[in-house]
């Protein structure tokens, strides 16, 4: 057992001698169920009762499965419950639990509980076996001839290593490669363009400038989103979603460069947070602050969407809007910067910074 004691000389693993000698295993004390026949019989009855309840519960499960419709419900403890769900789970759950508890009682109170001791051995292979292993390895290496024909070894290792290249390249079509041209058509562009109407989300009502009141918030989309479906729709919506707000023009700061991006205090911003991309619409109409419910980044819509709090680093992109001949709100162009979370190749020099004009 000397392997157990290998250690730096400075730190003995176990005290050479403990201050109190080891008295050895405690004497076994019998349980009530071992000495008292009545206690033993009671335990037996208890276990049998638990196991006896199992078939009853299983029958109940079958009855519920066929007799209780999936839409049935009942009220208890102030909650309306799905009857079938709760009864199915309750019966089978209790049956499983009772089997478990019966097994445990059997092990605890019926089976012998005399503690036993088993020897341990060091994890390492014994010295003789190690010697055999070393000798075998050496013989094998000799017989393989690799020592004299070293290039075979390097060739096999190098060849296997090179196979990593085709293995990785085979994954090259996991997605389109985000080259400059691909990015310009995907994550740096939305379906907004000049003249596209702003419509309310879900019901696609176009928004008339004259009908918007101060303090109003509209969760809006581009009108051309309606034509899309499936993943095209989701991808487009994940970038094009906007919020339209109307504020008193005298209570907000509109930089000179953005005077014609708004209509009488109606401003339009990307709904997609510049942090990790949650849609934001918690707008406080009095403070003009817009809060992201995911990570609490807060943007000031009365000041071109600059960050006033939280982990987001960039202003919310603003969409330049105007009205068409019928007085409906339309976009003047796509967003001037990519919307949504940052990415490495993003040129963030054109984002609005607090104090820009």
């Amino acid at each position: 057992m000397s392997e157990l004691d290998v250690r730096d000389a400075a730190t003995p693993p176990e005290p050479a001698a403990t201050p109190v000698p080891d008295p050895g295993l405690e004497e076994h004390v019998e349980r009530y169920t071992d000495v008292d026949d009545r206690a033993s019989r009671a335990t037996y009855r208890q276990i049998v009762a638990m196991l006896g309840a199992v078939p009853v519960l299983v029958v109940a499960f079958v009855v519920v499965y066929f007799a209780v419709p999936i839409s049935a419900e009942f009220a208890l403890f102030g909650t309306t419950w799905k009857a079938q769900h709760v009864l199915l789970g309750g019966t089978v759950g209790l049956a499983i639990l009772l089997i478990g508890m019966a097994l445990i009682q059997w092990a605890r109170l019926v089976m012998s509980d005399v503690e036993m001791s088993e020897e341990r051995h060091p994890a390492q292979t014994g010295p003789e076996a190690r010697a055999v292993l070393a000798a075998d390895t050496k013989a094998g290496v000799e017989e393989s001839g690799i020592k004299r024909r070293a290039l075979i070894g390097s060739g096999v290792a190098g060849g296997l290593g090179l196979l990593v290249v085709p293995a990785l390249l085979a994954l090259g079509d996991l997605g389109p490669w985000p080259t400059d041209a691909v990015r310009a058509k995907t994550i740096e562009k939305t379906i907004w363009a000049e003249g596209i109407r702003l419509v309310n989300d879900v019901n696609y009502l176009p928004l008339k400038a004259s009908e918007l009141v101060v303090g109003q918030l509209v969760n809006a989309e581009p009108e051309n989103l309606q034509a899309l479906h499936g993943s095209e729709y989701q991808i487009a919506k994940a970038k094009a979603a906007i919020i339209v707000v109307r504020m008193d023009p005298n209570s907000i700061r509109i930089p000179d460069s953005r005077k014609d991006w708004q209509v009488d205090g109606i401003l339009c911003y990307s709904k997609i947070c510049t942090h990790v991309g949650c849609p934001i619409s918690l707008w406080e109409q009095q403070s003009h602050h817009l809060l992201c419910p995911c990570h609490q980044s807060t943007f000031d819509l009365g000041n071109s969407g600059v960050v006033v709090f939280g982990p987001a680093a960039r202003s919310l992109p603003q969409l330049p809007i105007t009205t068409d001949a019928d007085g409906y709100l339309v976009a003047r162009s796509d967003f001037t910067v990519p919307v949504g979370p940052s990415f490495f190749e993003r040129d963030s020099s054109k984002d609005f910074k607090d104090g820009d004009n």
Partner: protein, 265 residues
């Protein structure tokens, strides 16, 4: 799966009583609506409202409802009768101070008095009037329309009020209230007038027909039977807490029972 079943109305009696009461209230309000009253009656009501306003509201909002911008007290010149009805009959106004968010308390005014104050404020300028029940009470909606109400709710409301209207947190101690006990009329009025920090959701974008769908969805979603205790309806945070308490907690107790030696002879 495709056959139409009638929409279930759970908590039916409660909803019915609520609807009936509100309907009755609406009838009462309709009786006071300016269009059905003579000019003289109307003037009399406005005068009564002005007196009530001077006593209960003017100390903050000013006698002419001009507000106090530097204290954050809004002007009431263009808020309309609906704003007064919402704020006073939910007990948010009169507020005890101008600092904290007004919270619902018991309304101590009679319906007549609320209507009078609303009429006075309405006379100060423009703004949405008190709605008729056919503007907000959902009836005869199809399942598709109520489902669309769900889409509207999740797009416009759940960001602040949570997916089933349980409420949520906003910056600086402001909260979005729980909507499960809010009456359809007050939902309509809140959307149209934008109380406190809540933005306005005006009819240009969300017409009355859509408000009814939202109201119907909110009512139906909260009447859905739950698959066990709903743990507060707050999502993964409370579920995690229960996994530790009820799951790991109970299983550790079982583990202790399994390994305990118990009493010995």
């Amino acid at each position: 799966m495709s056959e139409r079943k009638p929409l279930r109305r759970r908590r039916g009696t409660r909803a019915f009583v609520l609807a009936a009461t509100l309907g009755l209230l609406a009838v009462v309000y309709a009786g006071f609506a300016p269009a059905t009253r003579s000019l003289a009656e109307n003037t009399e009501q406005i005068t009564q409202g002005k007196d009530l306003f001077a006593t209960n509201c003017a100390s903050c909002h000013g006698l002419g409802g001009e507000g106090l911008a530097e204290e954050g007290v809004p002007a009431l010149t263009n808020v309309g009768a609906a704003a007064v009805e919402f704020q006073v009959s939910t007990g948010r106004m009169p507020a005890p101070n101008t600092v904290s968010q007004p919270v619902p308390r018991e309304n101590t005014f009679t319906a007549d008095e609320v209507a009078a104050m609303a009429a006075y404020v309405a006379s100060l300028g423009t703004g949405p009037g008190i709605p008729n029940e056919d503007q907000y009470l959902p009836s005869g909606l199809t399942a598709e329309e109520i489902a669309e109400g769900g889409e509207l709710f999740r797009t416009n409301c759940s960001a602040c009020h949570n997916f089933k209207g349980s409420g949520g947190a906003l910056p600086n101690g402001v909260t979005a209230p729980n909507l499960q006990e809010t009456s359809p009329q007050h939902v309509w009025e809140a959307m149209r007038t934008g109380p406190g920090q809540m933005p306005v959701f005006a009819s240009g974008a969300i017409p009355d027909a859509d408000v009814k769908k939202i109201v119907a969805y909110l009512e139906q979603v909260n009447a859905q039977p739950s698959a066990g205790f709903n743990l507060g309806g707050l999502g993964p945070v409370s579920e995690g807490l229960w996994a530790w308490i009820a799951g790991i907690g109970v299983l550790v107790l079982f583990a202790i029972w399994i390994t305990t030696k118990g009493a010995r002879a």
